[in-house]
Amino acid sequence: MTRAFVLLTLSLITACASTPSRDRGSRLSFDSINRTFAPDLTQEQVLEKFGPPDSKQKSTANERWQYLAPKTLFDRAQFIFNESKTLIQIVWNPLPGENEMNIEQILKQFPKAYFESSNTTKVSNHSLKSNTTLSGESVSIFREDSTNKVLAVAWFAKNH
C-alpha cells in the first residue's frame, strides 16, 4: 500500500515537472516566435508569453535573455532588450529534426520577403567552407553553406 502510494506520488511529481517543460518547448516553436515578434514588446509581456528565461545577461546597452531547449539544453532562443527594456531582437535556433533546419522550409514562411546574401564568412583563412547571412528587411537567416542547413533566424527592430 505504502509502496503504491510512493509510486503514485512520484509519477504525479514527474508529470507535473514535465508539463511546463513540454509547454515551453512548444511556446518557443518557430511559428510561435514568428507570430509573436513585435519590436515594442516589454519584458513583462515576454515573460507572460514565454515564461522565465534560463539565463539573463546584462550589458550597458542591452539585456539578453536566453532560453534553452528542454532535455538537450541546446540554445533555443535569445531575446534582446534595449535600455528601455523593450524587445529589439530575437535570435531563434532550429533544433535537430525540425523542418525549419531546411532553408527552403524557412524561406516559405516569408513569402513576401526578399532576402539577399549580405555576408558570407569563411570558417577560416584556409577553408572555403562558409556561412552566409541572408538579409531581409526585419528578418535574417543564418545558413551553413556546406550543409545548406539553417543555423538561426533573427527578427529585429528596423530602427536599432
Partner: protein, 253 residues
C-alpha cells in the same frame, strides 16, 4: 660507380614508361615506379630518411581502392582562390598520401570526399591545405615539406568533412557542449559566432565551431594531452562520440 648512379638518376624519368611495362603487377597489387623520396615524418613522429625508392608492386587495400581514384589534377570546380595554380602529383606524393591515409582512423578513411587536388602555393602561404563547401580538399607543395606531417594535415582537412557529414544532432551537440552561440548584429546585418569561453589549441579556432572542431580533432589524434589540458570539453566530446578505435594506426602497408 658514382657516375653510373648519377646517370641512372638523371635518366629515371625517361626510363619510367619502360619500367612500368617491365614490372607486371599481379591482381591485388598496384605498381609503384622507382622514384627519389625526400625525408619525412610519419604520423607517429618516426623520421623516414631520404632514399631512392625501387620500383615495386604493393598490396592494395580499402584505402588505396577508395582514395587513388579521387586524386585529381587541375583546380577544384569553382575554386574561389583564382590566383592559386594547379600542380601535378608525383609518384612520391601519391605514395606518401596513401601511406598517410593508412595511418588515420577508419572513420576518417571512409568519409565521402569528392577529390584531393594538388596545387602549388596557397594564397595564405605556408598554409599546407585547404577545402571547399563541397567535399574537395587541396594539398599545396608545402604539405609535402620535410617538416610537415602529412597525416596530421590530412586529419585536419578531413575533420572539416567529419563536421559537415555529422548529423544535425551531432553538430548541435558539439556547439552546445563547447558553448558556441550564433549572434546577430543588426547594424551590419551579419550573423557571427560569438567567441566561446575557454582556451583554444589554435587561434583560428576562435572563428567558429567548424574550425574549432577541426583543430580539436587534429589535436585529439596527434597531441591528446594538449587538447585535454587546453579544451577538456572538446576532448570529452570527441571521446564520447567516437569509439576506442579512433586513433592513429600503423603506417602504410
Amino acid at each position: 660507380m658514382d657516375v653510373l648512379r648519377k646517370l641512372l638518376q638523371i635518366s629515371t624519368p625517361f626510363l619510367l614508361p619502360f619500367s612500368v611495362a617491365a614490372l607486371d603487377c599481379p591482381s591485388g597489387t598496384y605498381h609503384v615506379s622507382a622514384h627519389p623520396r625526400k625525408a619525412y615524418y610519419r604520423a607517429d613522429g618516426t623520421f623516414v630518411k631520404a632514399t631512392q625508392v625501387s620500383e615495386s608492386c604493393r598490396e592494395t587495400n580499402a584505402v588505396y581502392d577508395t582514395w587513388s581514384p579521387i586524386l585529381k589534377t587541375g583546380s577544384p570546380p569553382n575554386w574561389e582562390n583564382k590566383s592559386e595554380k594547379p600542380s601535378q602529383w608525383t609518384e612520391e606524393q601519391r605514395t606518401r598520401l596513401i601511406e598517410a591515409l593508412n595511418e588515420l582512423p577508419e572513420a576518417l578513411q571512409r568519409l565521402p570526399v569528392k577529390g584531393i587536388y594538388r596545387m602549388s602555393k596557397s594564397i595564405f602561404f605556408p598554409n599546407p591545405a585547404s577545402n571547399d563547401n563541397d567535399g574537395r580538399i587541396v594539398l599545396y607543395d608545402s604539405a609535402f615539406g620535410q617538416d610537415q606531417r602529412l597525416a596530421r594535415i590530412l586529419a585536419h582537412e578531413l575533420a572539416h568533412e567529419v563536421f559537415v557529414n555529422f548529423t544535425d544532432l551531432d553538430r548541435a551537440s558539439y556547439r552546445q557542449a563547447l558553448g558556441w552561440i550564433a549572434e546577430f548584429d543588426p547594424e551590419s546585418r551579419k550573423f557571427l559566432y560569438k567567441e566561446r569561453s575557454g582556451q583554444f589549441v589554435k587561434p583560428d579556432g576562435r572563428q567558429g565551431p567548424n574550425e574549432d572542431f577541426a583543430n580539436n580533432l587534429e589535436y585529439y589524434l596527434f597531441e591528446a594531452k594538449v587538447l585535454k589540458r587546453t579544451t577538456p570539453k572538446a576532448f570529452d566530446w570527441i571521446s564520447n562520440r567516437f569509439n576506442a578505435n579512433f586513433r592513429l594506426g600503423s603506417p602504410a602497408k
